[in-house]
């Protein structure tokens, strides 16, 4: 069996400008932030970002690497709105595809199942159809004749998800309460990247939790990287909670270009190991 272990920069090295990239997690919860930071370091831009949006979206927007965001919401949970994403939207710098959360789910599912669309009531009558003129409806071929939204497959060039644990072969384990939609992001993507707090030897995942927690299997994974703190500053239970002080500093960095520059210099223009050192040194008082 192949050993799929690589470094995070190897994963990001496969990305090209203009790609469509999906990120697992939800809001400011278990986001593959180390991957996001690696993308920022590499400066890969013109991206279409597909996400149940949190600071992954905001950070990439602030770094100027986003052409378009596909989203149903963007939130930091304990801070309702991400100021970096807001600034990008309000300045008209980025394109947007805004859909219902359930439509988003079906778009990933359609891509994972290799069908062009899946039907749903979600979106009917709403302005989601007005602002996305490419969205189409479909009439049921059965007797009911209902006209439903045909949510198109959200096909991804690459997807990143962050697990609590993974093994050398790319099986991935969620030890927290919610796996979110991570498996679907992997299913929808051409290249599938799993980062984990810890990568263990094959067979050892069951020392960590029951078989039902190993929701990502190796058919869904191309490469795996061990990145402790890989979800920081978002939450990654039971390994760690959200770093609220850091998140506040991140949000405040949207205040003006100088504040952002200082934040980026300290936390983004450095390797992941330096990032961890800067984080453990504490957020500077503002």
């Amino acid at each position: 069996m192949s050993d799929k272990r690589v470094g995070i920069d190897d994963m990001v090295g496969e990305l090209r400008p203009g790609m469509t990239v999906g990120f697992g997690g939800w809001g400011s919860r278990r986001k593959p932030m180390a991957a996001v930071r690696a993308i920022v370091r590499a400066g890969i831009g013109d991206l279409t970002v597909v996400s149940y949006g949190g600071p992954d979206v905001g950070l990439l927007c602030a770094a100027g690497l986003v052409r378009k965001v596909v989203f149903g919401f963007v939130t930091l949970d304990s801070i309702a709105l991400d100021p970096h994403f807001r600034a990008a939207r309000q300045s008209g710098r980025i394109e947007a595809m805004e859909v219902d959360e359930g439509m988003f789910y079906l778009g990933l599912l359609a891509a994972a199942q290799r069908v062009p669309f899946l039907p749903t009531r979600a979106g009917l009558g709403s302005d989601v159809l007005r602002v996305n003129p490419d969205l189409r409806t479909v009439v049921s071929p059965y007797g009911d004749g209902e006209e439903l939204v045909a949510m198109p497959a959200l096909e991804l060039d690459a997807a990143f998800v962050h697990c609590n644990r993974a093994d050398h072969h790319g099986n991935g384990q969620f030890l927290g309460p919610d796996p979110f939609f991570d498996e679907l992001f992997l299913g929808a993507a051409r290249r599938r990247f799993v980062t984990a707090e810890q990568v263990v030897a094959p067979g050892r995942l069951l020392d960590e939790g029951p078989i039902q927690t190993v929701l990502v299997h190796r058919l869904q994974t191309d490469a795996v990287a061990e990145v402790p703190g890989g979800a920081h500053f978002t939450s990654c239970p039971p390994d760690y909670g959200r770093d609220e002080a850091f998140q506040r500093a991140y949000a405040k960095a949207a205040a003006d270009p100088d504040t952002w520059r200082a934040f980026a210099e300290r936390y983004l223009q450095v390797e992941e190991t330096e990032y961890r050192k800067a984080v453990s040194a504490g957020v500077p008082a503002s």
């Binding site: 959360e101 979106g123 602002v131 006209e147």
Partner: protein, 252 residues
Amino acid sequence: MSEVTRAEVCAVACAEAFRGDGEILASPFGTIPSIGARLARLTFEPDLVLTDGEAALMANTPAVTADHGDLVREAWLPYRRVFDVVWSGRRHVMMMASQLDRFGNQNISCIGDWRMPKAQLIGVRGSPGNTANHTTSYWIPGHTPRAIVGAVDMVSGIGYDRAASAPAAARFHEVRRVITNLAVLDFDTPDHALRLRSVHPGVSVDEVVAATGCELVVPPDVPVSREPTADELELIREVLDPTGARQGELPE
């Protein structure tokens, strides 16, 4: 017991919105709706299903400020499976609204032109799917002409006119109740236009009309929203919100 507060009247009005729902998932957003849903479960709707706010259904009915350690979980409901419930229709969501119009269209997406909004808000979230699939109510703690408007900037949750334009959306559509800091509103009119159902104690009909930015149907006799019973008041004050979080959401 001290005088009943507006927040307590609102909590009871939120509870009343769930009356008759039986065994469905009640999904309240906000502190006062959460108190309301729990109050309904502890009194007249014992079969209501509630989440722990994370990824589980909650068997007990503790205070809205209870630590996670005080919650008793009865089943797993991660986000992905919430959609199974939404699409099955066995849910009544009580959402907030940055804007709400005369036919119950809700906006939580953005203010201004969607292409380059004046203010980006959270996004449409699950509002389009919720409103097309199951009962929806709204909680608007700041009833002003900027919140209840002639037309919303981005229809997220669909109202009656939009539902009527798409039969497959109308099939399971119901916007039942709008609870605000001033009044209870509904759509029980022939064309499902917004109607004043009751005013909270101490609020005049004129005040509500002045605070509403769209046409409002005002019946000849507008009742006063009911006050909590002694039992309900005790549940709110001693069990569900002993620290007074409700006053933080709706100061007197």
